[in-house]
C-alpha cells in the first residue's frame, strides 16, 4: 500500500523489511535447543517522497530509523521490498559492480550522518574529504575540482581556506557543514539526513537546520529527514512517518501529525515532549519503554503501552489504513474508539 503522492515521486519505498540475525553461534543454538533469533529492525515499510519534498521519520531509539536510511541508500541489503529512486531500483552499493544507471543514481543520492566526529576521516584534509566524491565519480579533476570544493565550502558557510585544515580543528557545527559539503559534492538530488543535528547544541542546530532548508530551496533537493526530536521534525518536514518497532504506525502531512495526531503512540510521543511554552497541556502520560525488538509483543506491538488496547490489539497486527489526511495503523482509530 503506497500512499498517495503529490505529483511524481522521486523515491518510492515498497514493503521494505530487514531483520538482523542476532542468534548465538550455530553450535550453541543447536545444543541449547534455541532457534534463530532475528531482530526485526524494519518490517513492511512503504512510503514515497516527492521531488523537492521533505519526508521525515520519527520514532524512539531502536525503532529502525537509521536502518531505513541505510536501506534506502543501499548501504545494507533489504530482506524484502524495493527502493526505487527516479525509476531505478537500488541494489546494495557497497559491493561494487553496478549498472550504469545505478552508478549515476548513486551519485544522485547522498547521506548526512549524525555524529559530526565520526563522519569525517580524521586523517584527511577537508578539501580531500569534500573532493573525494568528485574523484570517485570522476566529476572533476585538478583545478576544476579545487574550485568546486572551494565553492562548496563557501556554500555551507565555511572559508575556502579551511580546506587545508584537518577535521579536528573544527567545531561540531562546522564539521556538520563539511559533511553537508561532501554530500553536495556529487550534485545529488536526494539527501538522506540521519539525525543531522542531534549531536549539536541548540544554537548551532538552528544554523544547520537553516542551512539545510536554504540548500533545499536553492538546489531543489529532496530530503529523507530522520530525527527523534519532534520539534525539529515539525520544523523541517512536509510529511511525517512515525515509526514504532520497525513499523510505520502513522504517515501524514506535518500539520495533521502535530495538530491532530491519530495514533495513540504519536499522541504519547507528542505529550512526552517537555514544553517550552509551559502551556500545561492535558497529557497522555507515557508509560513503559519500547519493547524488545527481538521478541516484539504479538498483535499491535504498541499494545502493552497503549491505553486504548483491547483483545484485538493484543492478537491482530493492524495495517496502515487511510485516515483523515494520512494513514494510521491502529485498530482503535479504525474502529473509532480513539477519542480525539
Amino acid at each position: 500500500m503506497t500512499d498517495p503522492v503529490a505529483g511524481d515521486p522521486l523515491v518510492a519505498v515498497e514493503g521494505l523489511a530487514k531483520a538482523f540475525d542476532v542468534s548465538a553461534p550455530w553450535l550453541d543454538r543447536t545444543l541449547g535447543g534455541e532457534g534463530r533469533r532475528l531482530l526485526r529492525a524494519v518490517a513492511d515499510v512503504s512510503f514515497t517522497i516527492g521531488r523537492g519534498e521533505t519526508f521525515a521519520l520519527v520514532g524512539e531509539s531502536g525503532s529502525g530509523k537509521s536502518t531505513i536510511a541505510r536501506l534506502v541508500v543501499g548501504l545494507i541489503e533489504a530482506d524484502r521490498g524495493t527502493v526505487t529512486i527516479d525509476g531505478v531500483a537500488i541494489g546494495r552499493v557497497s559491493m561494487g559492480r553496478a549498472s550504469r544507471a545505478l552508478k549515476t543514481l548513486r551519485r544522485r543520492m547522498q547521506m548526512i550522518f549524525q555524529d559530526p566526529f565520526a563522519s569525517l576521516n580524521p586523517r584527511m584534509r577537508v578539501d580531500a574529504i569534500v573532493g573525494e566524491p568528485m574523484r570517485a565519480f570522476g566529476l572533476a579533476r585538478g583545478r576544476r575540482r579545487r574550485e568546486r570544493v572551494a565553492a562548496l565550502l563557501t556554500a555551507v558557510g565555511l572559508d575556502p581556506l579551511d580546506g587545508r585544515r584537518f577535521p579536528h580543528e573544527f567545531s561540531g557545527g562546522q564539521r556538520q557543514r563539511i559533511s553537508i559539503a561532501r554530500a553536495l559534492a556529487s550534485e545529488p538530488l536526494f539527501l538522506v539526513c540521519d539525525e543531522p543535528t542531534s549531536a549539536l547544541d541548540v544554537s548551532v542546530q538552528a544554523q544547520i537546520l537553516n542551512l539545510l532548508k536554504d540548500l533545499q530551496a536553492e538546489r531543489g533537493l529532496t530530503f529523507l529527514f530522520i530525527s527523534h526530536n519532534l520539534a525539529v521534525v515539525q520544523h523541517m518536514a512536509d510529511r511525517v512517518g512515525v515509526l514504532y518497532l520497525g513499523r510505520l504506525v502513522e504517515v501524514a502531512p506535518v500539520e495533521t501529525v502535530f495538530v491532530a495526531p491519530l495514533h495513540p503512540y504519536t499522541r504519547m510521543l507528542l505529550d512526552a515532549v517537555p514544553d517550552l511554552s509551559m502551556s500545561s497541556r492535558d497529557r497522555l502520560r507515557a508509560t513503559g519503554e519500547i519493547a524488545n525488538p527481538i521478541d516484539p509483543p504479538p498483535g499491535c506491538a504498541f499494545h502493552p503501552r497503549c491505553p486504548l488496547a483491547d483483545t484485538r490489539c493484543r492478537t491482530e497486527p493492524p495495517h496502515l489504513l487511510a485516515a483523515g489526511s494520512g494513514f494510521v495503523a491502529c485498530h482503535a482509530v479504525a474502529e473509532g474508539r480513539a477519542a480525539l
Binding site: 548465538a24 553461534p25 553450535l27 550453541d28 543454538r29 543447536t30 545444543l31 541449547g32
Partner: protein, 325 residues
Amino acid sequence: MIAFIVRRMVQAVVVMLVVALLAFMMFRYVGDPINQMVGIDTSPAAREALRQRLGLDDPMPLQFARFVANAARGDFGVSYQFKQPVADLLAARLPATLELSIASALFALLVGIPMGVYTGLNRHAPLAKLFLAVSLVGISLPTFLIGILFIFVFAVHLRWLPSFGRGEVVDLGFWTTGLLTVSGLKALILPAITLGLFQMTLIMRLVRAEMLEVMRADFIRFCRARGLTARAIHFGHALKNTLVPVITVTGLQLGSVIAFAIITETVFQWPGMGLLFLQAVQNVDIPIMAAYLMLIAALFVAINLVVDLLYVVVDPRIRLAGRAT
C-alpha cells in the same frame, strides 16, 4: 553453558589436529633420527634395516594417520634416546614443569597484581615510578641472562639457594613433588622467579593500565559521588573490573610460561619437560618433540577453557550473552 563447553571442545579438537599435523610435519624433516639411535660405527645396512622397522619409509599420510591414532591413545612411541615410552617420560617430567610453571605464575600474580594496583592508584608516587622502572629493566634482559646472574649471585656468591635441580622430591605415586621438603622449596625459588619475572612485569603493567582506565570509568565516579570508602572503591569495584583482562592475559601467559620453561629449565637443570624437549631437539628425538608439542597445545587449550569458565564466574554479562569477543 554445556553448549559453550562443547563448542570449546570442538575448537580444541581442531586446534589439536592442526598442532598434530604441524608437529608431525615439521619433525618429520628434522635431521635423521637413525643417527641418534645408534653409535657412530653402526653399519649403513643396519641403519637401513632400522629405518624400515620404524616405518620411516612409509608414505607420509600413512605415517601421519598412524601418528594421530597413536597419539589419541596417549601413545607417542618410544623415545629414541631413552628407549622408554614417551608418555612415561613426559609423565615423569610433567610434575616438575607444572610445579615450576604454577609457582612462577603464582609469583607473577601475587606480586604483579598488588604492584599493578599500587602503581595504578598512585600514578605519580615515587615508589610507583620505581616499580615501573625496575619492571622495565626486568623485561629488558633476556631470561637466560637473568637466570645465570641469579645463580651467580645467590648460589655461587651468597650460597643461599641451590643452583640446579629440584632438591629432595617426595614421590606420591602419581606425582613427584618438591613442595614437601625444605630443599625442594629452596630449589624452587630461583627458577620460579626467573621464569615468572617477565609475566610479573606484564601483569603489573596490565593491571596498572586497566586500573588507570577503570578508575576513570563513570561508575567509579558514581561510587565516589556516593561517598563509598576508598577501599571499597579500589578493591570492591575497580579491582574486580580490572580482573577480566587480567584473567585473559594470565591464561595466555601461563601457556607461554610453560613454553618459556624450556630456557629456565635449561639454565637451572630443572628436570622438567622443557629440558627434556630441548635435549630432544638437540638429539632429534622426534617422538618426544612431537608429544611435547601436543602436550603444550593440550595444556594451552585446557587453560583457555578454564579462563573461559572464570570469565563466566567474574562477569555476569557473559552468562546471558555468550562471550563477547
